[in-house]
Subunit: 728 residues, 2 copies
Amino acid sequence: MATISDIGVAAAINILSAFAFFLAFAILRIQPVNDRVYFPKWYLKGLRSSPLVNGAFVGKFVNLDFRSYARFLSWMPAALQMPEPELIDHAGLDSAVYLRIYLLGLKIFVPIAIIAFTIMVPVNWTNNTLEHSGLTYSGIDKLSISNIPTASHRFWTHLVMAYAFTFWTCYMLKREYEIVAAMRLYFLASEQQRPDQFTVLVRNVPPDRDESVSEFVEHFFLVNHPDHYLSHQTGFLGLWGNSVDAIDFYTCKVERLSRDISAEREKVTNNSKSILPAAFVSFKTRWGAAVCAQTQQSRNPTMWLTEWAPEPRDVYWENLAIPFVFLAIRRLIAAVSFFFLTFFFMIPIAIVQSLANIESIEKALPFLKHIIELKFIKSLIQGFLPGIALKIFLLFLPTILMIMSKFEGFISLSALERRSASRYYFFQFINVFLGSIITGTAFQQLNSFIHQSTNQIPKTIGVSIPMKATFFITYIMVDGWAGVAAEILRLKPLIIYHLKNFFLVKTEKDREEAMDPGTIGFNTGEPQIQLYFLLGLVYAVVTPILLPFIIVFFGLAYVVYRHQIINVYNQEYESAAAFWPDVHVRIIAALIVSQLLLMGLLSTKEAAQSTPLLITLPVLTIWFHRFCKGRYEPAFIRYPLQEAMMKDTLERTREVNLNLKGFLQNAYIHPVFKSADDSDSDIAMEEWEQEPALIATKRSSKRATPMPSKHSRSSLSLPEVNNECSKP
Amino acid sequence: MATISDIGVAAAINILSAFAFFLAFAILRIQPVNDRVYFPKWYLKGLRSSPLVNGAFVGKFVNLDFRSYARFLSWMPAALQMPEPELIDHAGLDSAVYLRIYLLGLKIFVPIAIIAFTIMVPVNWTNNTLEHSGLTYSGIDKLSISNIPTASHRFWTHLVMAYAFTFWTCYMLKREYEIVAAMRLYFLASEQQRPDQFTVLVRNVPPDRDESVSEFVEHFFLVNHPDHYLSHQTGFLGLWGNSVDAIDFYTCKVERLSRDISAEREKVTNNSKSILPAAFVSFKTRWGAAVCAQTQQSRNPTMWLTEWAPEPRDVYWENLAIPFVFLAIRRLIAAVSFFFLTFFFMIPIAIVQSLANIESIEKALPFLKHIIELKFIKSLIQGFLPGIALKIFLLFLPTILMIMSKFEGFISLSALERRSASRYYFFQFINVFLGSIITGTAFQQLNSFIHQSTNQIPKTIGVSIPMKATFFITYIMVDGWAGVAAEILRLKPLIIYHLKNFFLVKTEKDREEAMDPGTIGFNTGEPQIQLYFLLGLVYAVVTPILLPFIIVFFGLAYVVYRHQIINVYNQEYESAAAFWPDVHVRIIAALIVSQLLLMGLLSTKEAAQSTPLLITLPVLTIWFHRFCKGRYEPAFIRYPLQEAMMKDTLERTREVNLNLKGFLQNAYIHPVFKSADDSDSDIAMEEWEQEPALIATKRSSKRATPMPSKHSRSSLSLPEVNNECSKP
């Protein structure tokens, strides 16, 4: 067991390394040569075209203004200064709401920590249980619930605290849900026309003998939505372009290839087999689109499936054409494989580890034998090799989970990320949280849980909770403090940018592409935050000393990510905070876990009279969740008709000659086809925004993030070609 | 343990009593004096006005045609002769689909029984385990899985059978779901205009400072559904009529009261406080109504809640005005109280039992002392008294569950019955099924389950399953055979009818009201059937000898209930088989229970190698359920726009001068207000049906069941008065 001074040393180390990262960042960011690494967002927005410092030749690469070195933490207040509405304008609602998760952490845990330290810590401290127990213990344990004698009446304090913390958390959750829902509705309401407001994605168009998909879609909607249907675009199969690749292009066969491409395109466009049974159907009014998206179209509920079209950038084209039956089968396969991934991932890793020993390396690569046999190298390999397989696995886990989500058939990037995030959280809950508390692989845990009685499980875990406090404190400092500080340094993008810049970049355009602004990374970032919510809620009543460490994490991360969102990240899509219900439900889950574990812990302390009161807590929490779900979730899924009608009416009075058809014509085109018209459509977009408006808004998300999304590009073979070809 | 001959004796007794019931029924039903007890449906349809036999005075009461006594089972083929489409015409889709549940039982279990007897019974029989075990056993046990030695390879047969039975059941379930969904859609499509096709129920209309509820509703829908809104009716608070009661009426104060009533009515109509924040909004087209019912109207998803209006007869008026927050709280309270009801219902009963002993009766009613002290009476009381409290509780259980559902705030009778049915099934599952297998109260079971390991629970139950086979066989014969046969005799309605007829009836109208046709009673009937599905699926692999008994139940019940539906029951509403998803999910649940119990049983038989294969079964079954839910359930909840548009178009071409407003004007009026217009609206209804139609249908559900529903009547104080007053 770690003593308080051990923790102090660890804290000092981590604080120092965090400061080292900040210092390095402070120096690197003011070097003009790194400007595109640390301020890519501004370049993409077109508000910055060259480093701020201009002067001598050296000055182009190195900052010679020594005063700027002195204020090495100046970025922190700068990051906090931008007000929220401006932040939404600048980086989108997703990013702004994402930051609110950190704020929510502060709002929940600061009051909880204050109450815990004024009430619970004294109650715990003024006992002598541990001193008389003869067990080894640390100062931290004296502050925790472990110091209360069994069957003591002091446990009533913890019970009351559990209620107080639950009510406070629920209150904050409700308030936040309300605010975010309002922000979302306001955001959607205050926007200019967005193609997704008028467009519905129709999937599983049934095959028709006489008509092509396109004709069939048109006829169906002309008949069933006669007053509202405007136009449609059918999806194309995006899997044909093996004949063209990027390297050929760079060897200046531009012209021949361009001809190839347009021939290919024509072929695809005219070939009915390459047309997906899916369409983006546009309506004359938002009202018409809202109606179509929310209703069932045909008798067979697996045909003519309609839903809101995702934002054009957000579409994941590959999954548009999966029939309903296959979707169901894919879900089953994904669920089963995720179960095995979570509970049995140690098996393949153990196999790899047993194969990847020194003997087999020597056998496979005999010429390395002499080097390996060196004592130093040998011990190094023997020390590192077993861990490497696991490290590689954990490194690739988010990618594996993303592939799973893609396999499951979600049709937008935002949905893919949300699904991956929930799986990643579950994996972390089992393998990091439970795995650290009950040592052993997830499979061993599962096995022992199956063989344990239902009321024994919370006991087993609950009892271990106080003992693991110091471990988690260290974890928070390494992962949460130093890790977050390292994020701001962007070491990997920095190195890659300079390598590219040195070897590949020839034109300004190349340089722009060498920038890798990255994104928030909701699928990995949010589960990490959730782990801290879980730790905070579980330890709030048990070992409140953990809370300050978590509060520092939330505060630090808030500042760092706010800075990154303002200056670096470039979101690939805008889902208008569609992820909030997920965030909410995971905090609720953490709350329930903490209540069950407290119940288990107290029942071993012979405080059984508290059990009925403790059982009430999860029941109330679940009820609270259902209430919130009914009250706020619809705002994230549906689009109220009242709202739609209001916007439609407003628009009709304000823009009489609205050419909606022209606006929507090319909104949903597969990225491959879009490229040729990119410049035109950009111009069209600008025109839209310049039109007179009754309500002036600053929002310009289309211009702010004009790059096509990474995912839809990476899965196609032609991206570079097209981007280039579109240049005059 | 019962031997086969014991079972034989029990079977003989039950078959004899079933025959006795049938014989009594055969004699009673052909007596003219009982005609209104056994054929009320035909009277209500207006197709029968007096007993068939007319002749001498005696002939009016007793059947003197002795030939008719000879054919005492003639009603059975008669009941089976009516083809399904005609049955739907005659009794509605609900009844016809309800009968399909029995048929589904036959379709599932007949093939399973045949396979089990040809393959599994020989495999079980050709072992000597029980003979060598030294345990007492019966012939039934020799046919069951108990006769297989531990760790035998013969268990593979049972494993394969479990797969075969699961696949067969799922196949039949899917087929049936498909058929019922198609029947429902066809039924809805082939109907004439029904007010509920054009009407949406709007609840939680927010209060408005300037406008009355009625004005506000009109304005909201004129703005947000401008092209489709037609008219609306707001709900009235139905809780004022204490000033009038039925006995006064019969003392001929008709006129004064009539004046009172109309004054009362006027007062209520004009008093804004008695107007509910709920409205029935009618639309010009089915399309418009379908759109409004399926979409969210306002920003705040707890305001302007829209859903399909239930059929006018189906509305449960009392619950129309409950605000969203209270609904959520009521749900929580209902859930918690149902939990306590299920697991702790023995506690109050034990208290009542301890109070209701002879001593306390003597104390409370001292004048009875002499009678009670008689030895015969005393032993009778002592023998019966403890059971009476339990019996009374079980008798009132459906009513208690119905009150709970009403408290929860469902707004239609059909929803109330569905909810009660699912609770009743759960209660039976815990207290009859599990309660019989593991002796002890539900609370003791709960307690032992909490303290048992997760994999121990299926073992504990699974091991007891084969031992309880004979008990359940007896249960099936008493409850399923004799009980169903007793249903046809209608002893209680028979006695009550004759008592009323003798003491109260003065006019033909009185006589009509003395008839009590009753209904199917979905809230008690369906859970009973489900218990048989559960028993059949659980025992199919374990003790197949149970299957023939279940098949006899399904066959017998099918004939009896078909007869009752044709001749007796008068449904209070028509929900177009909205209950089928519930039926489906409960059979699925039974299937999963049977799989888990088999797994538990086999794991004690040292057939552990089968566990992975057995775990796969519930996973696949759950997946199958989710697939079916996605594929078929929408047909029971939503109304496809394509369908609506088709009917609208058809109607527009066929009836050019459609006065929809007049038709819908009085469709949704609180029963109290409706009475005065009853005769008019009936005439209006007839007119509708006489209009020329392109597609001729026989359906006439409005005329078939013109009585206002029992529930909405019983909760009001004025029904008799109004029914009478409406007569000229």
